[in-house]
């Protein structure tokens, strides 16, 4: 009788559920997974090494490209690390703007995750519903920074510029009549803060809409309940952070446990799961979106009442205005020095972490006193989560592997760096 051997399946790197370039080598007994071996490195771009050869400010753009669905949160950790080394604190208004955009980013990321997770499990309508709301948040990115994704908006000492007074408008075209454009522009008549507040008001109803499709759906529950269970102890031991850890019932959120910026002044709750399965992690993330909407509203209200500077006035660190530069010799020198040489950061090392939508995203920075980092190390939450792949899918079926990949919310930009 011939020997029965396990089948090895190469899942990815080109696979619709691979979330980019995950290569998963699966050893399967029929459809049951015996061993899952994630291979990484297909999106390695050497971000950490590149940062060593550039003035500090010029690497902010690289941070956007780490986790490319939660761009500003990556920037946040990086500029926070620099600020801590420099010993500067940005103006309060800048801190509120950062918190607001961190939360916008969280919603952006969770919408992307929800859509992709739904699509992995076969519910394709959620994906398009999510992208409808995502579009509005992308517009906010565009309004402040000029780009929809890689914003480069945060700077050491604050943010690049204040919030705009008006939102971009839809124009009429061959495919969009005046009436349609008018309908699309309805919420965009006021300032950006009006737009965000309006979004925060209507967003919970949108979340309800996603939930009607999934939360009580029997098929969705059959596919996610008791799949990929991680006990709280194992979750801590595996280095889980963010919703992956909270889904297992560990109440840990950097926004509460070591508040940075103005999170301590804001009112929000931290949802935690009970069983640590895919369904609980789904519920945790959905609730986080609702909490983010609450935070957005609070930030928008505060920002409307408190105008002020959004970046430090120290021109050794931040560029002077265009007007000053044209008329003032010293400002011109500052501008020139800043954009060619940058600024020097005192020698030392620092670790700054933010509660990124996926977990704890940290930047470990070593400076030798030069104008560029001596060493930069990014702590990507997805890396730790992906490492648990084998443990989470063992004994499950092939269809559950995609559910687990979906629930991990992996993005290869940050894992491969």
């Amino acid at each position: 009788m011939p020997e029965i051997r396990n089948m090895t399946l190469n899942f990815g790197p080109q696979h619709p559920a691979a979330h980019g370039v995950l290569r998963l080598v699966l050893e399967m007994d029929g459809e049951v997974i015996e061993r899952a071996d994630p291979h990484i490195g297909l999106l390695h771009r050497g971000t950490e090494k590149l940062a060593e050869s550039k003035p500090f400010n010029q690497s902010i753009g690289y941070m956007d490209r780490l986790d490319y669905v939660s761009m500003m949160c990556n920037e946040h950790a990086y500029v926070m690390a620099i600020e801590r080394l420099l010993g500067v604190t940005p103006p309060v208004r800048a801190q509120y703007i950062r918190v607001m955009f961190d939360e916008i980013t969280r919603v952006l990321n969770h919408l992307m995750w929800l859509g992709a997770h739904g699509l992995d499990i076969g519910a394709m309508t959620v994906f398009l519903y999510c992208f409808r709301e995502r579009e509005d948040l992308m517009d906010c990115y565009e309004a402040v920074s000029g780009t929809r994704m890689h914003a480069t908006y945060y700077r050491p000492g604050g943010v690049y510029r204040d919030l705009p007074d008006r939102m971009p408008q839809y124009l009429t075209s061959k495919w969009r009549t005046e009436k349609e454009a008018g309908r699309l522009n309805e919420g965009r008549q006021g300032s950006m803060l009006d737009f965000i507040e309006n979004f925060a008001d209507r967003f919970p109803a949108c979340v309800d809409e996603y939930e009607t499709l999934l939360t009580d759906n029997r098929i969705w529950k059959q596919r996610t309940v008791d799949i990929g269970i991680v006990t709280p102890e194992r979750a801590l031991a595996l280095g889980f952070t963010g919703p992956m850890l909270r889904g297992s019932g560990v109440e840990w959120d950097l926004r509460k446990k070591q508040p940075y910026e103005v999170y301590a002044d804001l009112d929000f709750d931290i949802p935690v799961g009970v069983n640590g399965d895919c369904y609980d992690r789904y519920l945790v993330r959905v609730e986080e979106m609702r909490q983010s909407a609450r935070l957005l509203k609070q930030c928008a209200q505060w920002l409307r009442q408190n105008p002020g500077p959004v970046i430090l006035d120290d021109h050794k660190l931040t560029p002077p205005t265009r007007g000053e530069m044209k008329g003032d010799m010293e400002s011109l020198i500052h501008h020139f020095k800043l954009f060619t040489e940058g600024y020097c950061v005192p020698a030392g090392e620092v670790y700054a972490a933010v509660e990124h939508p996926k977990g704890e995203f940290g930047i470990y920075l070593v400076s030798d006193g030069a104008n560029k980092p001596y060493r930069l190390k990014a702590r990507a939450p997805g890396f730790a989560h992906l490492s648990a792949m084998n443990e989470m899918v063992q004994g499950h079926m092939l269809a559950d592997v995609v559910a687990v990949i979906g629930t991990m919310d992996v993005v290869f930009g940050e894992i491969d760096r």
């Binding site: 309508t125 596919r223 269809a399």
Partner: protein, 370 residues
Amino acid sequence: MTELLHQQLALYMPEMAATIAIMLLKIVVILLPLMGCVAYLTLLERKVIGYMQVRLGPNRVTFFGIPFLGGFGQPIADAFKLLMKEIIIPDGANKFLFLLAPIVALAPALAAWAVVPFGSEMVLTNINAGLLYILALTSLGVYGIIIAGWASNSKYAFLGAMRSAAQIVSYEIAMGFALVGVLVAAGSLNLGDIVQAQRGNLLTWFWIPLFPLFLIYFISGVAETNRAPFDVSEGESEIVAGFHVEYAGMGFALFFLAEYANMILISGLTSVMFFGGWMSPLPESMTHVPVIGTLLGDGIHWFVFKIFLFLFLFLWFRATFPRYRYDQIMRLGWKVFLPITIVWIVVVATLVVLKVPPWFATPTLAGAGA
């Protein structure tokens, strides 16, 4: 009408040839509109799901440049593209089986239409074992999938084939039992007679006494056509495209045609067996309404209307549900559907014996014989 044509043809050719010519003509008359429906069902699907997903669906390829028919050229463009594409046969594939599989998948989906009655006299072959013929042919389609998965020499395709085989053993039995219920209720295996047994109006159709069987038959039908939420053998996000992952061009298009032809077939059979086929849902007296009276009476248009109603359900399911895991489908088939059908067959048999009006009061064909 066919007899008249037959006489005319017999003047020019031998008797046998005339019969064959008439037969071929009938087949063409059934298949051409069917293929047209399949092509435009893909457009309907993309449009309906598009609107459900707050987007527009295809709207650029116009039909002979008529502006308000945006998107109507899409199926033709798609078919043309697929025809022009190279058929790639992967290394290590069993060439014969690889090419045979799409044909095996498509042929039963078309052949089953031979016994489907479109009207009281409109049927290609009026055979008495129609229901058995349908059961046999609809089960054959899955062999196309299994052969395709095996012959492709690809692990993904192989997994798709395995899932398909596992799936079919679980719902086919429940589906068969659901049809037994119809057989008991109608007392005949002839599809035309099954429709006649439901004569009356909306309330005398079999969907009321056989309601659980109707649900189970339709859900099994969705599973048999490999449509969401039972599209595990295709499993876009798990096994990429499953059994047809290695197919390109026309080979792929044939699987596609088979899937959509099967959808129409299942919708047609559901309306024949549970919703009175070509019968009008309105009472007989409505046919006396002037001008539109004939439209309100029985006719093929009601059959088409019912088919579209069920097709819409297929599309609706696809836009709404996540995908089952294949062991969950098996559990559903064995532990839920099978017991329900067996219990309900007993219930139906009791109803028939007790001659419960309005469905079983008049003696059925079998009842008349007994």
